[in-house]
Symmetry: C2
Subunit: 306 residues, 2 copies
Amino acid sequence: MIDELVKKIQEKNAPVVVGLDPMLSYLPEHLLQQAIEEYGQTLEAAAKVVWQFNKAIIDAVFDLVPAVKPQVAMYEQFGVPGIAAFARTVEYCKSKGLVVIGDVKRGDIGSTSAAYAAAHIGGVKIGNITLRGFKEDFVTVNPYLGTDGVKPFVDVCREQQKGIFVLVKTSNPSSGEFQDQLIDGRPLYEMVADKVNFWGEDCIGESGYSAVGAVVGATYPEMGKVLRRRMPKAYILVPGYGAQGGKASDLACYFNKDGLGAIVNSSRGIIAAYKDEKYAEFGQKYFADASRQAVIDMIEDINAAR
Amino acid sequence: MIDELVKKIQEKNAPVVVGLDPMLSYLPEHLLQQAIEEYGQTLEAAAKVVWQFNKAIIDAVFDLVPAVKPQVAMYEQFGVPGIAAFARTVEYCKSKGLVVIGDVKRGDIGSTSAAYAAAHIGGVKIGNITLRGFKEDFVTVNPYLGTDGVKPFVDVCREQQKGIFVLVKTSNPSSGEFQDQLIDGRPLYEMVADKVNFWGEDCIGESGYSAVGAVVGATYPEMGKVLRRRMPKAYILVPGYGAQGGKASDLACYFNKDGLGAIVNSSRGIIAAYKDEKYAEFGQKYFADASRQAVIDMIEDINAAR
């Protein structure tokens, strides 16, 4: 799957992933009102709008980008109907040829991590057939529980040709509280980075990159530079561009000399572009066209910097 | 909610939580066959059995214990039908008067953690009413992203009278890889413990305990002893008893002098008791009776030690 991701990035010349994080405040008011008229003030109404919103954006951008990253929390908040909208979104993205990175940040001990891996990138055997709960290609994984929490995901990656991105250095303001703490003079995130290399060493694809990648926030470019060198075979998923403050000029250091090795996410900046002054001319009704223009602008911005 | 948990622990004289982690291999073969005949080899069939299995166990043990802890991974692996079985299990447990600890180990940055908190212990506003996606009383939270990942959960705890257990020292063999690393001579888990105190200081209930608790594995009693002293106001959720190797004699140090302050989880040892030689006489058909006996034995074992 890492090879497929690399191939699609090259074909579309776009090291960019669109974050499908449909917060309630991003959803166009007219869609929400329509759904409430049809379904009442229910979780089903919210889930319906989430799906309509996603579908319009996917239809508007799928030819431009290699991948999407739905953030499962934004679906989980709408309960079972929300999770059904997540599953439908993943399947629709796959049908449009997109690589799907499930931003689930799961992580637990042995058999429980195995169940999460089965849920999102593997499958479960019912009777004598194997079924898939959700159908992402990659998931994000939290490393706090150590190797026996991450290994079950890596095993599934190898068996099913899937991939993971392990949280190394996250983009949020307080990420340093634990991640930056020095252990024998080196920050914890570097120790996690070394484990990313270790976990991924048996899953290197033909592209030269491993199925085990890393999350490193755009908001910490100095650390990004160090981590890029430290994990030469790991694809880096870079959140924090745009709305969170990360600038394209800071992102060059996340790429390898081959121009590969990083894929930059934008969520709010793309899917809520119609709320941005820059794209206000599109108006609420043409929110998906605003997203398309925002993707075009983002690709240009990133490509000028890498 | 922490006060309600303490009250129920005292009323039932049972600092014990039953882990509802229905792995496929724990489910009685006859139930699985029946469901496959009715629903085919589908995720719906698996979800149906999970629900039947849970209901039988809940009915058999609800009068003995204060709380249950469904592990969401075991439901998530069965996709949308699995998540619906999770929601139904939570609601059924609530209807039986049980405190429900959602073992979800979520954790993300600001607005995303807020969405997870809304999903599990808070609610979302649709139109002018607030709806709840899932209905747990507590959730487990992963601290790797720092304060702005945990704070949104704490805010919901305060507003909605709910609670969380933050992962401090987990029960798995490799938990020490990152958690035990020394920072200025002190392990990372102690640093996380200090944050647990900080996050929880404004949510102390009438019981003297905080809505912000901690997860500390039964498999590391020496660390449990230190952490008990370090977090005097935090309730400790203790996984790892029984099947994972934690013994009751090791657990005394997880309790405060008031005999409170800890709640010990057992999953496999209870829900798959019928597979254990000790309870084999019950047979597969009476799996729930085996679970009841295992709960009685566990309560006696823990109470003798604390």
